[in-house]
């Protein structure tokens, strides 16, 4: 809950200059294009928040994305990342290790701009993603003791194949910081779509999603570079 509060507070702070700016700026309409795909440019970004997860959670991840600008309104995006966890639980003595790439495709929708209008320096957007990962994991635990008949059995699994897919819905903010550079926050609600695990285990850490649950939430803090197009 501390993380969510931090994300929300930071997002509100990021919105302050945006609100002030929108009152001062008069937006001049660009030539409105009637084309369905009104391509305006590309941008690349990297998520820095994933690295900070290692301070708060039992895993870390890194992520880059490429995004197209269609009419300053719609932004199809492809994100690729790599997540890893190598964790030993103190309560049960269970060790879990996994690292794998993950992929997300989706769309950002600019709430602030009208389609075809001139770009604003800062804007709020909604986001939707479909994401998936195929990860191998190792898990081992101290022997499981039979509480009734006695004896114990070990659990030591290696290279178990798992698949996980999920959707993400959220909102974000992007703010121009210098020339073609922007920074941005997003907060995301994540919901599992499908899970395939081994016959003796469930995936515990899912790269790009976090700890395996039906639903969770996460955030990004991105540094963005807009590639100039003439």
């Amino acid at each position: 809950m501390k993380i969510s509060s931090y994300i929300l507070l930071s997002s509100l702070i990021a919105l302050l200059p945006l609100t002030a700016q929108s009152q001062e700026t008069t937006i001049k309409s660009d030539t409105v294009s009637g084309r369905l795909l009104d391509f305006r440019g590309l941008s690349v970004s990297t998520d820095l928040f994933g690295y900070a997860y290692s301070l708060l959670e039992d895993y870390t991840s890194g992520e880059v994305a490429i995004e197209a600008n269609l009419g300053n309104k719609y932004y199809p995006i492809f994100e690729i990342g790599y997540g890893s966890s190598d964790f030993t639980d103190e309560t049960f003595g269970i060790h879990y290790k996994s690292s794998a790439p993950y992929y997300k495709v989706g769309l950002n929708y600019n709430f602030t701009n009208k389609k075809g209008s001139a770009p604003r320096d800062s804007y709020i957007y909604g986001l939707a993603r479909f994401a998936w990962t195929r990860a191998e994991y190792d898990v081992s635990s101290p022997p499981i003791t039979d509480p009734v008949w006695g004896g114990s059995v070990g659990l030591d699994l290696s290279d178990v194949n798992g698949f996980y897919s999920w959707i993400e819905l959220g909102v974000g903010v992007k703010v121009k910081i210098y020339k073609n550079f922007r920074m941005g926050w997003s907060i995301r609600y994540k919901a599992r779509v499908n899970q395939v695990s081994g016959s003796n285990s469930r995936m515990w850490y899912v790269p790009g999603f976090g700890n395996s649950r039906h639903t969770t939430f996460g955030g990004t803090y991105s540094l963005i570079y807009e590639i100039p197009f003439k």
Binding site: F87, Y96, F111, I144, L155, N200, R202, T216
Partner: protein, 161 residues
């Protein structure tokens, strides 16, 4: 702006509902297999719950190391027993009163299972075959072979009338 407010409100609602701890941890993480007693009604040829004679105690010896006596067994009675983690065949010695005794062999595989970091590990089982003697047991059927923490009916024992 209206769309932004709707989106923010929706997201906030979703985040509040996302307080799923992912844990379906059970307080007692021991899996039991459940055995029901049935008989075939002679008049209708349909399956009915077996009616235990009132005066009869049922004595049960499991894996030769435990001895239990059930009295006042009713038609709804069932046996819920833990399986052995280290063997692949559990043996039940059933004795009705002082007379008839039957032995039921439950063959199974053992599945050590990692549930989660919150819930730890558990042992599941899969029943592969049933064998029995036939003094009063007419037949034995696997209803649901997989045994986990859920309360499923796994075995039906048909008692000869």
């Amino acid at each position: 702006m209206k769309r932004t407010i709707i989106a923010l409100t929706t997201l906030l609602t979703l985040m509040l509902s996302a307080c799923d701890n992912g844990g379906d941890c059970k307080i007692y993480n021991t899996s039991y297999y459940r055995t029901l007693f049935r008989s075939i009604d002679a008049a209708t040829a349909k399956e009915v719950p077996y009616t235990f004679p009132l005066e009869v105690d049922v004595r049960l010896v499991v894996n030769g190391t435990d001895s239990l006596v059930f009295n006042n067994m009713t038609a709804d009675s069932e046996l819920a027993l833990p399986m052995c983690y280290t063997q692949e065949c559990d043996t039940l010695l059933l004795q009705f009163g002082t007379a008839a005794t039957d032995t039921l062999f439950v063959e199974h595989t053992n599945i050590p299972y990692f549930i989660s970091m919150d819930c730890g590990t558990g042992m599941y089982h899969n029943i592969t075959a049933l064998r029995h003697t036939s003094n009063f047991i007419d037949s034995a059927v696997i209803v649901y072979p997989f045994i986990n923490f859920d309360a499923n009916e796994n075995i039906k024992l048909y008692i000869a009338e």
